[in-house]
Amino acid sequence: MTSAGARHEAAIEEVWNRVRGTDRAVVVDSPPGAGKSTLVRELAKRLVAVGEHVPIVVQTNDQADDLVIALAGAGLSTGRLHGQEWTPPAGWPRQKVRTGTKLGELGGCDVIVGTAAKWAYVKADERTWPLGVIDEAYQMSAAALVRVGHLFDRLLLVGDPGQLAPFTVADEHSVRSLATWPLDTAAGTLLRNHPDTPVIPLPVSWRLAPHTAPVISDAFYTRAFTAGAAPSDRRLELASLAHPALAHAAEHGWALLELPAAHVPRTDPALVATIADLAHQLVTADVSTVDPSGPRPLSRADVAVGVVHRDQKAHVEAALQRRGVTGVTVDTANRLQGRQYEVVLAWHPLSGRRDASAFHLEAGRLCVLASRHRQACVVISRAGVDEQLHAYPAAEPVWLGTDPPQVDGWEANRAFLERLAPHRIPAR
């Protein structure tokens, strides 16, 4: 076993021992592609094997469906607790899974999966559990945790701290001036209230390439991790005429393709065209992705374009269509959370803007875009992002008695850009 594998296994065993121990809560920090889903599935299996019933709280219906399919595939008797409007996705294992809108309909299931919003309607007098599992605990808000916390005597929270923070339509200023801050993440709230809670970081990203993991780790995470793959394990093989940015990224994991500096509208046509051309080349040229399981041709499903706004998505999709490219995923950062691709083309959130904004600077947004790939990530941007970072006024309100954020968006953006400087490729 590789040393990375050994460290990962050690972390998993530590999680298991903690779960079987006496800690009231255990938090597992899982960087991108560190095996979180496998961990949840594995722990559920082990818990069921020792006779436990396992309730699992996830954040979205898609996450619930994916997890249920995986658990049922692992042979666990699984129940899906869902809302009125839910319809099973394609390929739903009807035979193996029980579904219901009420807990009572899922009697006898060893594992029950539902969204936090759905669990919030389960009454503690119906049933409580000795241990609950919360998946994506950094996407979940404290307000959601408050509504389900009473169902479980102990909790295991698993999540990626580099995700987008929970969002509210409420005016932050009103909330902060009148109340203690209820908008933290579920994991953050738990750790603040129970500072002795053990936090076990999964130390290895199995997704990110050896060249790219350290950059993500340094810029966006307080607990360092490394890549599980060795430099010789992964390779992207391109035709010789590939775009220099693709060629560079194939070799180094990263490329920062820079168009000339300009203030441009959000749907920057030149950026759209550049991204569409790159995607087109990736799926039409003869590209193979190589990993220890052997080489295989890069398929359209292996490529994703990460954007910041919905209108950018619409424009990129239209441009791809014009080039006859279908099947390439184009989506915004929040919808790409938890997904993985071989190659990702990422629209830099600050590209072409005159002024940065808190939205565009959010560390989680850039982190999600830059950490979905297994082989390579090409960040496409207008030059001049460093100017914007420089010009961003340090005028955020400071609320007495609150700590500065662990990862500051501005700082993360700056660090990321600095690490990508050697991979800068000016657009032709």
Partner: protein, 537 residues
Amino acid sequence: MSLDVYQRLLALSQARAVPAASRAHRHLSPRPWLLAGYHLAGEPSAPVAIRYGSFRDSPKLLTVAEPRDRAQRFAALGGLARDLATYLSRYTVTEPVVRATGSGRELDVDLCCVDAPQLIVPNEATAHWVGLLGQYLRSLDDPVLAAAGAHLGWIASRRNLPGSSVLLTATDLLTAHWRTGQLPTEDGHLGRLLAWIEPPAGTDAWQAARDAEAMPPAGPASDPAWDAVVLRPALERAKEQGDVRRLKLAAAEVLAGPWRDTWAAIDLVRMLPPGEHVAKRWESDRWSWTRHRERVLAGTVSFSARLSDVPAYRFLHELETRTAALERQMALDDPLVMARYLATGEAVAGVVIKRDPEHTVVNAGGRSVLRPLLWVRTSAAFDRPAGTDLWWGKVGMVVRAATDDTVELMVTSGAVTRPKLGLLPDTDTEVVLAPFGPLQYFPDNLPDELPWPTRSSRPKPAPEPELDDDLDTDVVLGTTATTAATTAPPPADGAAGRVPEPRAVPDSTVTPASPAASGSTTAPSGAVPSGDSRGGW
């Protein structure tokens, strides 16, 4: 938002504000109580002058010759408290109203005040100050002042609730209905805003705004130059010679502008027809006032310093619900607000070019159900994905496909039975499909108590020692300015006229009169018992 930018550009190039709303989205009382104040720089509780009342031409003017002197301040604020009580006493008549209770399904008849008081101030700083003034008054032993403090506390508590019109600022009234071409932060200056909306004949908005800036400030934020040149001599004369005429004149001068401007803002918004949902939102304010009065009568009003625990989460839930509801109601009430969503592409305007009312689909249970189809021709491409929900009034539909100029929609609610097919828009009808459907009711499913994961496992640290905590600002100042730290007087230890600082009252258990208001919150300086408002929305 692109419409916002477009309007700002229009305003900028015309040097005149442009309308951002065609309906009034705030309730305006026929008899509001206005208040404008000026206070001593840096002193949160030392008003120099307050002008207030319901009558434009005969405001009351209150001045305090030595704002840092407790007795003087006390006397002046006593007058204000009594006048406020008189104003509020007009709002005690109740009427029976049917309202939803419990889960929102049952109906009940309850008594609600037919109208509620409304306080309008020039700007945000004054609104904030109203809260502070209330907090300060509640800390005093005097029952009249404390009662006024409780009322001001309730009034201030409504300020942060989207959609409430109990405490309005003139700047918010104007920015909610007009767009200027200046920096958004400059819109916080009432005089500048008015200059943009109604520049005096012969000047453009830029010049008018600069002129407005040169006037004394709208308080309570102070103007250093005015303090030094006008206020100081007036205060000194009042103190030394007991002659308050100069102070009164100075106070009248500094507050005349904001007083006039606040009324002008009200006049401008009154010219707009009220939005349809405004009365509904005001009813929520009336319920809150009714409950507040009941608590006052029962002696159970209490204010907690800051919300924490479950009430903090309940407050967040209420803010979120109200924010979404207000956004929806304003858009449905006012084409100019709906236009914002058209501009961003969240809403679609177009003409129905084809219908298939007979279209059916097979539902999950295997039955065939009616799901009419509509095709709408649009002027701009609709770029939201298939599956997006849109509404035409009560008819809900989902986008099936969109091309550059046509959207295909399947009706999913509101007109999916034969008797209701008549509710579908006809061919050639112009429609606006909005991202807002009928209001959904989400019951507040918060527990009564925080569960363990969100409750601290550590005992709360002992509060800091509060030695000398009641040191007040009532220092006896010499007649000459004492400016440097080294020459400042020592703490007025044991000086007469100290005022104890208000201590946060612990959350008490207010029992709301209405069964609808289960899960009670105390009203802190800014939140509201959640049961108050929900029924009204």
